[in-house]
């Protein structure tokens, strides 16, 4: 049985009438990489701030390493390294000075602080630039320095808020593999929030999709896609050179087959949802019919689809709920005025 290192129980936060985080329950186990996904303004940062005791929840509790973050934030901050989404440094100081300052604030002894800082900079690959002023740093270098900043304290948990923001694609890949490697080597628990789905998919053990203050779903990506697309687990796209008209007939014919659930023809592409992987059969069929195939693509569900699907559902529900809530209210209002 894995022990949760981060435990959120009914966490709620309001900004005026807006519910930024709504009754959130979440457990994160030791040593795992958890991705908190959601669109902008979903309440990811607010949740993180509450975990660190940087803002007070309206209701509920956040326990990190078994400590209540609202009541004892200092103890939590000793164990948690937090990298904010737009990390800033003191521009008048060099990178290593910035890092040593943070080290001193964390009570690292004066005689080992410089070696520790140099080691950490070596881990994130900034050894050559450590005597540069941070004002001369690029966004990606700042992000790396931010990670060094988190690592110098030997934290048990790392919380990264939008760590990939503003880095170029190759930089992102490098950065995430660094995080992954560190987590595996040192057994660190990592919580990272992002709205970049692909990147999160690469490194996370588990993800939670977060929309409008609510955790819609959590679990590893495979489970998520199975739950969501369980019935239509194979989607095959076949693209031909011919136009839509000529595709209609074979589409009708294919619809007769048992293992094909649904067929959708868009321009010169046929989208087939199948119960089994029948890609070879389909290719043979189209070739026999004399079509000029230009592409066959088997869709695999990634986070993007999961995310969109959930987001769509959520929106639909919202519209429905909004209506019913309105009715409910009107009903009550009438009753009250009648009395």
């Amino acid at each position: 049985m894995e022990t949760p290192i981060i435990e959120l129980k009914g966490l709620t936060k309001n900004y005026g009438s807006l519910k930024a985080v709504d009754n959130l329950y979440l457990n994160i186990n030791k040593g795992e990489i958890f991705g908190l996904l959601g669109p902008n303004g979903a309440g990811k940062t607010t949740t993180i701030l509450m975990m660190l005791g940087l803002t007070e929840p309206a209701a509920g509790n956040a326990f990190v390493c078994g400590v209540n973050a609202t009541k004892n934030p200092i103890a939590v901050k000793r164990k948690v390294g937090y990298m904010p989404d737009s990390v800033g440094f003191y521009d008048s100081m060099t990178a290593i000075e910035n890092l040593m300052y943070i080290g001193r604030l964390n009570g690292i002894a004066e005689n080992e602080i410089e070696t520790r800082a140099k080691e950490t900079l070596a881990i994130v690959g900034l050894s050559d630039e450590m005597n540069k002023k941070t004002s001369a740093y690029s966004r990606g270098m700042k992000q790396r320095l931010g990670l060094a900043d988190v690592l110098i304290r030997n934290p048990e948990v790392i919380i990264l808020d939008e760590p990939t923001l503003g880095i170029d694609p190759s930089g992102i890949k490098e950065f995430l593999s660094l995080i992954h490697q560190l987590s595996r080597q040192q057994g660190l628990t990592v919580l990272l929030s992002s709205h970049h789905l692909h990147q999160v998919q690469q490194v996370c053990d588990r993800v939670g999709i977060f929309v409008e203050g609510k955790l819609l779903v959590e679990g590893d990506i495979e489970t998520l896609s199975r739950n969501l697309f369980g019935e239509e687990s194979y989607v095959i796209l076949v693209t031909v050179r011919e136009d839509q008209q000529s595709l209609l007939e074979p589409a009708e014919e294919l619809r007769m087959r048992d293992d094909i659930k649904n067929i959708d023809v868009k321009e010169n592409t046929v989208e087939l949802s199948c119960r089994q992987d029948i890609t070879p059969d389909l290719v043979r069929y189209f070739v026999q019919k004399g079509f000029n195939l230009t592409g066959v693509h088997k869709k695999e569900y990634g986070l993007d689809e999961i995310y969109h699907r959930y987001f769509e559902n959520k929106l639909k529900n919202n519209i429905a709920n909004g209506k019913s809530a309105g009715l409910f209210q009107r009903y009550f209002f009438k009753r009250n005025t009648a009395q």
Binding site: T45, L54, T55, R78, P84, G88, Y90, R104, N106, I108
Partner: protein, 341 residues
Amino acid sequence: MVSPLVYFKDIFSKGILHNSRVQHKPVSPFWVMVRKETGDHVRSWRFIVMLTLIFLTFLGSMYVSLGNIGKAVTNMKDPDRLFIYLKLLTISDGTLPTFHIFISFLGPLLGIALGFDAINAEKNNGTLTRLIAQPVYRDNVLLAKFFGALIVVSVLFFCLALLMIGGGLIITGVPIEPVELLRILAFVVLSIIYVGFWLSLSICLSVSFRHAATSALTAIGIWLFFTVFYQIIVNLIVSSILPGSDYMQPGDIASYNDLLLSFMRLAPNQLYTDAATTLLMPSVRSLGPLTMEQMAGAIPSPLSFRESIMIVWPQVTGLLAATTVCFALTYYLFMRKEIRT
């Protein structure tokens, strides 16, 4: 045979070993922050500018007072003539204001310059989130900002005072009286408290305003209001309320004067000037008007240091109270504020 040097072998290295053991103990985060703040201030351009400004006014007023010291010391009507060092700080031939008058309007500027962007600049740079995410108490952040700047100001004022005393010693060759030293030190402490008030006010503004420019302008606005407009406004209001002086009894005039003075003393610079004058001029016995009965039998002689302190105590308390109020307000604003970029 053992060389006698053996006995000395560890004398120094012991000390070094001991020192390195001391270094093992980490400094508390508060002092780490104070150290960084102090370092930042000393290296910052605005402090260098303020330092130059204050140093130049100091040199100017010293030059003027040194030129007139001969006249002042031989003026037999002045009971304070023998306090040469106090005279150095207070006399002028009218071309330049004296040093404490200079401080009464440059001090606020120094305080504002050191504090106006204390919190909001860090917030805008994204460093505040990073700082707060470390295991430090929030109030320590504020206190470190205040302390760091205050240490810089204290060192500056003590240096100037000691420079003045040293220069005076060399130029006049007259040894300094202990009372003079006490009075000058008390004046320095008073000046630090005065700058401290403006510092805490500007830190308070830096917490409540998002942009450093806004908080700087507001702080300068408050400063201008108190140095220039406040006296004008109080005079205007009082003169429009008062009946003409021809129709008033002498008792009424005295009570109205008292009223005017108490309104004036709401301004921190008035408190400072009153207190500084009393400390630097031992013959000043009261800050308000005295009646003839009170004056009867008084010999025009300097007061003792203790008595001068008694006179300025309300002023000092007032300044300290104003500083505390500003600081408490800053705490209130900052402690539960959510910090995000």
